[in-house]
Amino acid sequence: MTSSSLKALRNVNRDEAFYFFTSIGNYTGQSAGSLDEFLQKIKDIDIKSLEFHLFREDFEKWVAQTLGDGRLAEEIKFLRNQKLSGNALRDRLYFTISRRLKELKSSQSTYVR
């Protein structure tokens, strides 16, 4: 748990960052190099981008493969299956990631102590 939370909280390099698109090939100019930054971007990013990536399973793939957080990936997959859209999607996604981020940070601080 502790080493995986460290991995999930790390800053990734440019090649591994998450790049927000609104449709095929249309990049918004917004990217996230950590889960923290990802959460912040979700607040303001074009809703089309959230819907586009959720439908393509991009969020869960990035979270699982790059950040190594299978649990969060499962939670995002659950959201996808709920077929949410618009601000309801944004709010649920924000809540889910924010809750997980708190867990990871608290487990990290326990580990450091």
């Binding site: 698109f21 095929i24 090939g25």
Partner: protein, 168 residues
Amino acid sequence: MKPKYQAITLDDLDWHILRLLQENSKQTYTEIGSKLNVAHSTVYDRIQKMEEQGFIKKYEAVIDYDKMGIQQITALMTITTDPRETENIANKMAKFGQALEVSTSISDTFIVDAKVVAQNQADLHTFVAKFIAPLPGVLRIRTAIVTRKYKEERFCLPNSESAGKRKE
């Protein structure tokens, strides 16, 4: 239109030969000569001269991928860039095999334009997301997928209207 870096002057006959070569570069000197009412040796000399001068860079095959049954999509990318990185981005884009054409342009921002090919939309997106978006200085990307081509020419010869109506 005056060609850049021109060491020799091209006359009307040269331009007509160029136009015919652009239509079909496999035509023989004799065929070109008969269309222009000049000897094949004249055509040969003119073409040699233009090749030596580098006016004719190469002859290439234009492939019809549809007829070959090869699935491919073409997309036009407009990459808005940080002016300090425009040149670097264009050079990097030019190195990708997927890029058919790369150029820079200026509107209210500094742009890198590219025509790219991919097997399908998923491949196109992977290419843009993995290789282009992460390049330093890329601010935004707009990609349009070509649905149908109505015309495709490399360039328009100067005075093409008069060149098409050469007096014989």
